[in-house]
Every structure is written in C-alpha cells, then in structure tokens.
Amino acid sequence: MPGRARPDATVAERLRSPGLHLDTGAVMTHLRIAHRGLADLFLDAYADFPLEATPQIDDFRVDVKRAPGRLGTRLGSRHFQADLDGEVPFPPFPSAYAFPIFESALNWCVAERIQRYLVFHAAAVERDGLAVLISGASGAGKSTLCAALSRSGWRLLSDELVLLRFGSGDVVANPRPISLKNEAIDVIETLAPEARLSPRYEGTIRGTIAFLYPDRAAVAARKTGARLALAIAPSYRPDARPCEREMGRVEGFTWLLNNAVNYFSSLRDGFETLADVAGRVPCYEMTYRDLGEVIDRVDVLHAAAAARQAA
C-alpha cells in the first residue's frame, strides 16, 4: 500500500490546537484532533487537501478529544469522543477505531447540518463534465462500484453523501475517502494496486472496513461540479445473471426521494429540483456480478446520456 511522507510535526501540533480548516470542496470543516494516532492517519488520508490555518467560514466544527470519566480508561484502552458543533452524537470510541468513527462523524455532520444542497445517500463520479449518481441500500455495492470507477478513468465527486445544487440539480464535488467493506477491499486492491488505502479495521458492525483515499486529480478538482446525467441503483449478486432496467420517471423520482436525506425539510425547492432531475436523468436498476461488466455498461449508458443531453 503506497504511503505519503510523514507530515510535518508542526501541522500535527496545530491540528491538536488551535485546529485547522479542512477544505473538501463543498464543505469547510474546522478540526481539532487531540489523538496522535488519528492525527497521523488523518494527515495521510487527507494529504492532498488544503489545511488552512487562517480563519475560514466553517460549516461545522469537529473536536476529537479524550472522553471524560471511567470510559476513558476502561479495559486499558483509551477512549475518545467527537464533539460536533458542541454535540456528542456518538458514544466514546476506543482509540483503535478512531479513523472509521472520525469518517462517520464527518458524514453525520454533512447529513445533519448541510441544508443548502439536496443531500443523497449515494456516491457520484464524473467524466466529460457529466456525473453518474450511484445509490442503493447498504451492501448493494455502490461504494465498490464508485471506487472501481474512480480508478477506471472517472473522477470521484463524493462517496456516501452526494450534494445536488437546488435549481440546476448539478452535483457539487466533495471528495473524501471511500469506505470499502470486506471482500471489496481485496477487489479494489487487485484492481488498483497503486491506490492508497487506510489500514484495515476488523470487527466493526459492518465487518472489516478500509478506506480508499481519493487521488490527487479528484482533490485538485474539488471545486468543480458536474451536470447529473445518469443515476444507477446497483445490486451486486455474484450468482445472478447481469441485467438492467430503466425505471419510469415517477419510479425514478420515488427512488431518488427515498435516498434523499433532507428532501422533507427542503420543501418546494427540493420537490422542484428532484422532479426536474427525474424528468431528464435516466435512472437504472443494474444487477451485476463482475465489476468489469458493470463498468462497461456504465460507459455505454453514460455515452447515451451525454448524447441525449447534447440533443
């Protein structure tokens, strides 16, 4: 697993206090991390992202610090907690799981706090200025597909949560590490041996987890969004025959709505945006058993969607 040079000690010290501002594209986060191991992992995972020391307009503040009380020393393992804008939504966590919890905390902030975009539980990639949204239930293989596409000529826009601009329905980039689970980790390591991955975290409630770090090109283009052209509901089934079906527009609307995190609080803007997207963006159910096959199909459908948009 390729790694980056160890970060400057002063950066880690500044990350502890007074903190640094992480710019992931659509979101600015003020971070303070008083956990040396987590700081090292964070600085490796986010090595290509700008970390601003000067004051910024932050969307939220994340403060990782020692958990107070007995939990802090229980079982001989130090426990930490993440303060998110002064709230502590997660129970204290053991030091060994700091990075996956930290990533979950950042996702929680986006899902709970970002209201200026229509937020979807989904992943998105881009090519030629046109985005593909990939959504579906946990375990359907959307992160695996997103990771594979991001290593096959597509640019990562975001994983786990996708942000759509109200009105235009354009995807706003917010690339961050892609969470891979269980067999998907080996699959992606085999597909892209040059890719940078986090250590593996075993025994989580989702099994073994590792994070694929976004490549430099995706981070460099984090301020550039894309027109949404295609939406896919993948379903990884190794024993099934590959198939796909285009949804009707009402069905597509309903599917998108069910995967939108903040649709009900976005009111008329949310309806108008989602209805416009459902009206112009083809939505497909895709059952696949092989990543190569599904990547080829996404290429074909993306090209057809591009031709449709051009017309």
Binding site: G248, V250, F253, L267, R268, F271, E272, A275
Partner: protein, 107 residues
C-alpha cells in the same frame, strides 16, 4: 317513497359545492408517464396521483370551479359521456383530493 341510491346520494351531495386549491401558495406538480406528482407546500407532502385526478388539480389550479364544471372537464378529458358512472368517479376523486388536503369545497 323515494329511494336514493348511494351513487345518486354522493353525486347530489357534491353537486352543491364549488372547489378550489387548498394551499394559498398553490401546488407544484409534474406530469410524467401518465401520472402526476403533486407537492403540497402547506403540508410538505408529495403525492403521486393518477392522470385523471391530476387533470382535476390542473383544472382547479387555473380557477375554482363547481362540481358540475369539474365533471364536464373530466368527461372531455376522458372522452366519455357525463353519466352516473362519471359522476361517481368524479366524486371519488374530489373526495380523495380533499382528504389529501389538496383542495377544499365551498358553497
């Protein structure tokens, strides 16, 4: 003794009313593939409606109308006669839209 059948009763009970869109700010909707999507800004709810119910909403969005005028519009849209069956269907749709708080009646 007069006998009033349920369908005649429903038709005659609604004939006395006019109908208008309930949310003061109006509805937002889309027409896709023979179905309507309607967003009610007063409740925040989104509804999937059949094409005939959607046509009634679209008609009432232009101006308030009587039950009779709604029936006439519906008959023209569906290309059927204005008979008891149509009145039954019209009433069922009006009551359904009223229950969803998309329209309201007045005299």
């Amino acid at each position: 003794m007069d006998v009033t059948t349920p369908s005649q009763y429903r038709a005659s009970s609604l004939d006395a009313y006019h109908w208008k869109i309930l949310p003061a700010e109006g509805l937002a909707w889309r027409h896709f593939d023979g179905d309507y999507l309607a967003f009610n800004p007063a409740s925040g709810n989104t509804h999937v409606l059949d094409v005939a119910s959607g046509e009634i909403l679209k008609f009432l969005s232009q101006a308030a109308a009587s039950s009779e005028a709604v029936g006439t519009r519906l008959a023209a849209f569906l290309e059927v006669d204005e008979d008891d069956n149509l009145r039954d269907a019209r009433d069922e749709m009006l009551l359904n839209l009223e229950e969803l708080a998309l329209i309201e009646r007045y005299r």
